[in-house]
């Protein structure tokens, strides 16, 4: 197996995730797209771990999974708070800090 087939899959998933973050305006869907991006990063880390025949990449993939879990927890709490205060999770309407 070539290294590049995994890296290109990861790059494609990353690009799709970037599109999702930019194109969506529903807060939950933006968080999901961020998960997609983090997963692309994980595939990259594990592919390089297999390529270099060492384990540091796998360890950091596990760390990324843990950080992603923390991020989703806090992110969804913020979306819930937003929904409770504004009755909407449309991110284009979140402009109360605009000068």
């Amino acid at each position: 197996m070539y290294l590049n087939q995994f890296l290109l899959l990861s790059a494609a998933l990353f690009a799709i995730g970037v599109y999702g973050v930019l194109a969506r305006r529903n807060g939950v869907l933006v968080l999901m797209s961020i998960e997609l991006i983090l997963n692309a990063v994980n595939i990259n880390l594990v592919a390089f771990a297999a390529f270099g025949n060492q384990l540091a990449g796998e360890v950091f993939a596990l760390f990324v999974i843990a950080v992603a879990a923390a991020e989703v927890g806090v992110g969804l709490a913020m979306v819930l708070l937003l929904y409770r205060n504004r009755k909407s999770i449309d991110l284009t309407q979140i402009d109360m800090m605009r000068g």
Binding site: N4, A49, V59, L62
Partner: protein, 184 residues
């Protein structure tokens, strides 16, 4: 000609590069890659939020399969446990608590979709060009799957400080999420 016959005919070696051909792995990779890409595209284009979460499950399961294909069994199992088991449930709860209905939703997409598609395509083009140029036909060298015991040894020796930092981060995120989401 079946794939195993083809494999035997070439003597198990790719005549072009001399490396060992792994037919079964390549077929598994192709199936998972296509499934993941189609599901990911559907995830960012569907108008139904619940369907988006379910498409995300397919992508995450494909990623777990990819990890196992790469010989990282522990990461693959952790992916299934943490992502599919916990994070997706969290997402579904988030959707339930912020939406009245479960049908299609017309206002999930912003107005600048073509701009976003352009940025995504540009990111993909630049990364693909750089990757193809850098790792032309580098082959994966791992002969057998990595041992979970070795991963554990590495976490608890060389990477003990980041591990403890992650532990504190998870605790902080837990408390932070409770404080933010609590009503009063």
């Amino acid at each position: 000609m079946s794939t195993s016959a083809l494999f035997a005919a070439t003597g198990g070696f790719d005549p072009l590069t001399g490396g060992e051909v792994m037919v079964a792995q390549n077929i598994a990779f192709a199936i998972m890659a296509v499934t993941m890409l189609v599901s990911a595209v559907r995830m960012v284009t569907t108008r139904n939020v619940v369907h988006a979460a379910l498409y995300l499950v397919i992508v995450l399961a494909g990623a777990a399969g990819t990890f196992i294909l790469l010989g990282a069994e522990f990461v693959g199992v952790t992916q299934v446990l943490v992502y599919i088991g916990a994070i997706i449930v969290l997402f579904l709860f988030g959707i339930m608590l912020t939406k009245g209905s479960f049908g299609d939703d017309d206002d999930v997409d912003g107005e600048r979709r073509s701009m976003a598609a352009m940025v995504g395509a540009l990111v993909l083009a630049v990364m693909a060009a750089a990757l193809v140029d850098t790792f032309r036909d580098a082959e994966l060298s791992r002969a057998q799957p990595s041992l979970t015991a070795d991963v554990g040894d590495l976490i608890f020796s060389q990477y003990i400080v980041p591990f403890e930092a992650i532990s504190v981060l998870l605790l902080a995120a837990l408390i932070g999420a409770i404080v933010v989401a609590r009503g009063d």
